[in-house]
Amino acid sequence: MVDRTIAFVRTEDVPAMPPPPNAAGPVKWLKDNLFATPANSVLTILAILAIYMILTGTVPWMLNGIWEAPSLAACREVLNGASGACFAVLAERWNQLLFGFQYPADLYWRPGLAFLLLFLAAAPVLFFDLPRKLLLFTALYPFIAYWLIWGGSIFGPLLALVGIVAGALFYQRFVKSSFALGFFGAIATALIVWTLGGYIIPDGEIAEGAMRSVQSRDLGGFMLNMMLGVTCVSLSLPIGIALALGRQSSMPIIKYICVIFIEFIRGVPLITLLFVANVMLGYFFPPGSGVDLFLRVVIMITMFSAAYIAEVIRGGLAALPKGQYEAADSLGLDYAQAMRLIILPQALKISIPGIVNVAVGLFKDTTLVSVISMFDLVGMIRGPILASVEWQGVYWELFGFAALLFFIVCYGISQYSQWLERRLATDHR
């Protein structure tokens, strides 16, 4: 008889063994991601080597940085031959880098406040979940910002506002009977209000006090880049949409005006337009009068980016199936309604990446104004700061700082656009 008793019966589960060390955890991650194939391994090692070399160069240089010194020579004395940055130039010229060298120092709070209010004004436009009533502040913001940055009498911006409100009221009243009457009548109304108001209100210059006037040529630094960037992007978007629609118009005159404008502007480098704004218009206007240089530059940059945005939006319009246009027509919508309710919302959504591309490019292009002797951030660095006896020869610190500021803004714009695309993703792909 064979004893058939079972020697051992496990009554509970074997505890799970940890996976072998090379199949889990960091080792597996490394193996999968960094050393999957021989070629992959070689590239990984080369990349690590490159990163190591860059870091060993820059990290001690940054950590050794001198933040307090009156000049580059003093920095070098402190460093005594060791590698190290001379960030003291940023500390000493901080205000010049941000505001230019001519903006009155006791008035820095004014552009600072305008900058903070910009976020408040931009928020309801950028994030449409916010209460719509905030848009009222957005509408007022250009006038507030103008008053804060340029100073002077409040009557000037107030008059501009009143003129626009009067025009808008006229438009609302008469647009029902005829669009042309409403549109051109509104422009005429605004012009009449401005002209009459010009005689009534006192001269806008204020020489003393907290709200004293600042001339356009005294603006500078990163402030100038921000002002140009924000103004030109917000102006060129509506103009670009109008141009894109105009180019598709069936009315030949409007169509060809738009086509010629777009093709001409796109065929000319921005720097040429800036020279025209600065140099050629200087010949046309009588000495001492003429249009403000800042305004001339805004007009030129806006025209430039509007032409590009128009083409981006035309791409969006072309991407829509013809059925959408026909659907709008079959619903009995007129042109304005069809565009506003059906075509543009879809076309603009498609165009977002392209528009953001133009906006980022435009913002960086604002540094070109340094060639027409406006002291934006780069102009400040290349001109006054590098030409001072104390700081000539400091390059990496200054241009690194400029790059950092521009990166922050441009990265912010691109992150926002990605959020917007996700938020508007209503299709099922």
Binding site: L72, A73, R76, E92, R93, Q96, F101, Q102, A105, R217, I257, F275, N278, V279, L281, G282, Y283, F284, F285, P286, P287, G288, S289, G290, V371, I372, S373, F375, G379, R382, G383, P384, I385, L386, A387, S388, V389, Q392, G393, Y395
Partner: protein, 339 residues
Amino acid sequence: MKKTAFYGALAVAGLAASTASAATLDDVKARGVLNCGVTTGLVGFASPDANGVWNGFDVGVCRAVAAAVLGDSDAVEFVPTTGKTRFTALASGEIDMLARNTTWTFSRDVDLKFEFVGINYYDGQGFMVPRDLGVASAKDLDGATVCIQTGTTTELNLADFFRANGISYEPVPVETNAEAQVQYVAGACDVYTTDASGLAATRASFETPGDHVLLPEIISKEPLGPLVRHGDNDWGDIVRWSLNALIAAEELGVTSANIEELGAAPTGNPEINRLLGTEGELGAMLGLDADWAKNAIAAGGNYGELFEKNVGENTPIGLARGLNAQWTDGGLLYAPPFR
């Protein structure tokens, strides 16, 4: 399209207005401020400091003219211009005078319709080499690589010099002085050539200036001076004689330290008396006050004082007077007599 018509109309109006405009002197007096074109920044010649106050050798000329005309050396609006915008700024009337280390050449004087009123700095193209190279003369530079700014007269001067001496070189084109500085320090070229004042300023910014030498050869003439528009000779005279007053003051020993004393009452030297307005009617002939030159000199000192303060041997730039010494000291500065 509407815009074009608008600009066209304005242009016509502008041309009409500019031909009818009054004399520059009246404009400046009415405005109370002299609009003076300067560089956007050149070490030692013009640059704003940390407080935004303009300083430099060219700036000193602007301040002297402002002091002569308006009696206030701070009544200057400095209009920064680039190499590309400077002439149009002057021609269009945006600025009253240009003091922006501009070389006096035939075509600028005649063809561009400007009037150079004098020379405030005699510059010339020079060479800088590392001391290790062991070169004592530019004629030993056969086969050297040379950093040179493109599109400038320095490029042409360099080619002429090397061809005339029958030696060869290899150009390393650079765009700006800053770029040249970086290239030269990195060893991308053996030699850097530009105006001698610029070389000295560049050398001053190096970590060890002593490791680099400026060669003795100066291969071009670069007379730098202030200029005004054609067509208003009265204004040109004022700027010309303000500059001459600074130069004559040094020759006559009038400095910012002793000018109050010398200008208070007639001295034994009649030329000083005429210069400082205690004798004669020179100021009235220019349409200015009798103490115009006294104000101009008091603004920043005489020519020698301006030189020493901004670019002279005690500054980091460390330029020697050289050609810019008085004619009595073997230089080229020679102010016509004040009588």
